[in-house]
Assembly symmetry: C2
Homo-oligomer: 244 residues x 2
Amino acid sequence: MTTAEATSGTGDERGPLFSPVERETVQDRVYATLRRALICGLLEPGRILTIRGLADQLATSTMPVREALGRLISEKALEALPNRSVRVPPVTLERIDDLVHVRTLIEGEAIAMAATRMNEADVSRVRTILLEWDRFRNLADQDDFDNEMTLNQRFHFEIYRCSGSAVLLPMIESLWLQSGPCIREAAYAFSAAGEADTAHCHRIIVEALAARDPEAARAALAADISRPFKTLRTRLKAQKADKP
Amino acid sequence: MTTAEATSGTGDERGPLFSPVERETVQDRVYATLRRALICGLLEPGRILTIRGLADQLATSTMPVREALGRLISEKALEALPNRSVRVPPVTLERIDDLVHVRTLIEGEAIAMAATRMNEADVSRVRTILLEWDRFRNLADQDDFDNEMTLNQRFHFEIYRCSGSAVLLPMIESLWLQSGPCIREAAYAFSAAGEADTAHCHRIIVEALAARDPEAARAALAADISRPFKTLRTRLKAQKADKP
DNA sequence: ATTTTTGATCTGTGATCACACTTGCTTTGA
DNA sequence: TCAAAGCAAGTGTGATCACAGATCAAAAAT
């Protein structure tokens, strides 16, 4: 028996001595793993995933995997084929344009809402992420895509969270899940120059947020979103012209 | 052996003699049932759903039910409580405003895109649904909410489908799933006058579409969306003032 | 040599069971 | 009479199994 329990019978009157213990199911862990792989672009478009294969790789049974796959399919992050097999959706020109269009619409609205609602603490928290990113990029020169994507994600979602919309956030997450595999294909194209561009874009975004200018923030974000897709678009066109 | 198989070995060169046989899993049927109940507002907000209870009602085992619930939760149509129980999300003032805002943004964009892409056949198909609706309303005077909601859904999604965006459509479906339980609470409020208003709104929408006017269509749709939510909003405020 | 058939293997689906946790009621004690 | 401990029913989670459909490769027939 601990001191806390000895001094107070139930231990709920004297402030939060213990934080609630986190309960993480296997299904949640599988889902988080696949989600992270998808967003970071570790899974190439068109690849077919099997329940048993994933269960073996993740060292679990098939049950948590099939439920995690079901969730990802209903979020449109994966695709269910009529053969009952599941694959990560292939990228096409139409899909790219569609994704860019919808992302600028929705994430643009989210950042515009955030711009009018953020206080000093919110802005400085976003600034901190940007600084952390700069420090990381200067220290480690190796291509650590995983960390790069994580920092990028934290930057954007820290802003979107300030929009205060509980409906928009899950939609943006679904959009990132869908554009993750596409981004990956373009990621190699601008490893050196692209990162500088991204940093520049993000600085403009932060300035617009600090100035509480919704439309400037929306425009800056639109540029940030469409840039990687543009390189992917030209590359896909070249591929198509190569072998029709 | 059928005649078709006798005349042609594989039967795939001479046009579509047979349409592909539909393979509907139990899980899909459970999902469709719950989805329909949610959109039509048969499940009141805050109600707790149990896997075994639903499995008994639907006369299946627990497995298809839990996967269907998982899908609906990841679409934000249902809510997973920390107790590991699942309920239909309660409605609050903030949630209503949030839903109306996002729906006008997204569905407005979809209808604006559709207005520039619809051809004569598309417009006439939408008109047909409206006529069918009028006929139904004149014939059957009983309050058949189920059919009413189905017709309304067909009208809207026939338009949205013409937007050509494979990314927007699932999002709109998710939004309808989320606002279904809310609408139900308001549905009784305008059973008589509301239907006339709805019909009027929809006629304006069709006119805007026929005129290929994106902004007029967007404005008309915004009015159509916000109307039921407005009555719900005033009712909720009254409830709140009644017993704080 | 090409095509068809047949068989084995793999995969998803759904049922059943064991386990851990929650919840609500009953019982027991003050 | 009331509150706390204890028990019992219920619930979600994950594993295992049986079954049906899909896939692919080898063998047989043309």
